[in-house]
């Protein structure tokens, strides 16, 4: 049901039944390495091109989450999925063999928030017994799409992020599971006129702030009502902007904020500069690190806010700004067969 101006409260507390994450070798060498379900050393994932590699990554992750949840693909009613590539080409070829009706989504790197929110809303409304939400990115397909061919060997400024090679997928259902989805706060597009595609954290931070602020107001909550507030891929620079912005609005989230882009790599030893990015960054961090902590009750209520920078190589070359968007979902520990709320 509607909650406040922009949020939804899921009264039937749809559940995340299981989560799966598959990543590339570099992500496997990072601080979260031991937590991923699979680490693939072949960057091509056995395919012939980078887009095909990302499709293979999606397919493998979807199969993994089905296996973990003990579900067959015919039990999944709808799939909510997306990636960063033009015309969602990784998703089109990555999910075709599943033969599950699919809603293609694009929210740049915020896609996992959009996907989980929609997938949960369908379960909450009784429109589906089981749904699947997934999002992926691949370093090489993203560089090809948005920046330069790898062979060009361009230099990267310290404000730039590194696109994560990874896919995260969750299976949702009505009972049991490892976490409850108690609400969502879909985000507005926020355009502050930012134009530097090598500093996307700054482009996304205002959108993240807008969604978090709206979530606080809609649910009448303060930062202390969340054990963690977790953004997608703001990186070190975007994180500072977010915290300053919310402090000016009267909310201090600094002690309970985490950014998936900062967590996934060791910036110094892995030379990833401002952090990780891509749809896959928040998706695999959610599946491998965040959900297990919610399951054990280490964090009982989390606001998960993947963040997206809305640009294309065309809009960038035309000198346009980079608007941001952030979709929030509230995740809670399952207690006594019900979520906390």
């Amino acid at each position: 049901m509607q909650q406040g101006k922009q949020s939804i409260r899921f009264e039937n507390l749809p559940r995340i039944l299981e989560a799966a994450s598959v990543v590339g070798e570099k992500e496997g060498q990072g601080p979260l390495g031991e937590k991923f379900d699979e680490i693939e050393k072949d960057p091509m994932f056995g395919a012939e091109d980078w887009e095909g590699a990302e499709s293979a990554l999606q397919k493998r992750t979807a199969e993994k989450v089905l296996e973990k949840a003990g579900l067959t693909r015919t039990q999944i009613r709808y799939l909510f999925a997306g990636d960063l590539l033009g015309q969602l080409i990784a998703t089109s070829f990555g999910t075709v063999d599943l033969e599950i009706p699919v809603m293609g989504l694009y929210g740049a790197c915020s896609t996992m928030g959009e996907a989980i929110g929609l997938a949960a809303s369908f379960v909450d409304a009784g429109n589906a017994d089981y749904t699947l939400a997934l999002a992926s990115s691949h370093f090489a397909s993203a560089e090809k799409q948005f920046r330069f061919p790898l062979e060009y060997g361009n230099q990267r400024p310290y404000s730039a992020t590194w696109t994560v090679t990874g896919c995260g997928a969750v299976a949702l259902g009505q009972k049991g599971g490892i976490a409850a989805v108690s609400g969502m706060t879909p985000g507005k597009i926020v355009d502050m006129g930012h134009k530097d595609s090598m500093n996307m954290g700054a482009a996304m931070a205002p959108a993240a702030a807008d969604t978090i602020l709206r979530n606080f107001q809609d649910f009448d909550r303060r930062p202390e009502d969340y054990d963690q507030i977790i953004t997608g891929d703001l990186g070190t620079i975007g994180r500072e902007i977010l915290i300053d912005f919310l402090r000016n609005k009267g909310y201090d989230i600094s002690g309970r904020h985490m950014d998936c882009g900062i967590e996934i790599f060791d910036a110094e030893s892995q030379d990833t500069h401002a952090g990780g990015s891509g749809c896959g960054c928040s998706a695999v961090t959610l599946c491998a690190d965040i959900l297990p902590r919610i399951q054990t009750g280490e964090w009982q209520r989390v606001l998960f806010v993947p963040t997206g920078a809305l640009l294309s190589s065309t809009s960038f070359n035309e000198g346009k700004s980079i608007p941001g968007i952030a979709h929030g979902v509230v995740l809670e520990t399952v207690l006594d067969g019900r979520g906390r709320q």
Copy 2:
């Protein structure tokens, strides 16, 4: 609620309150010309580039539907929107000024079906008082994205379609209105190995057939239970494949099938070959022609099935096939304050 294997029945019968269509000059000269809300003679829509033109088109259409429905943008809780361009760049810049939380969607030319289905599901579940669904395409931004620069002056085979310059938008709510949305049948991706991007009707027809067949089975209906079954942009060649395919399955839809791509242009005098295409094709035909006929009761129940061809210039250049997808929604005349069903 769930209906059959793949469909949803909307028990609260969410309503389409109003619809708006804005098109380019060529569409205005076609058979449906007098039915569109606005015909713009400037192909740039006052913008500086083709992507900006499509964004301006979206913005104008959204404002038009709000005006017709007597709603302000602050009353609209969520916007479900998409276009054909990489990273939905027309939507990102076209909807930012509305300041409405937006779910970015990509279903190629099936996007209007996906958007209406999701927007209706949110109203049906009580997650929103009012939602907006829109989809657009622009001939020049699509040619630039998928085929050749206009200046190249390439020749087009007779199986090719012509991308419609147009945007259709509908406002949805709980009561009143011009039509009810009684159900949806989200589609699977269907890949028959088709590779000719100049004959996309053939690529999409198997997906359309799959969704229509599933709709019949899930709702226990026959073609006669619909006054019209309307596909998006199969064109003349795709239409034949669809009708043959369903006839082989025991369903004859030939007497009640219509394709928006065939309706929107006069193929002979307008030199558009196999017909119109693009997200905007089915969206503007729905808003200008189909919904008014449902409103008057000329058609009391319609299965509206926009069809999408899932390709990108990258996948095409890599020699990949073109999978298809089709999302169906059931639209009904509002009778006695309730839909027919």
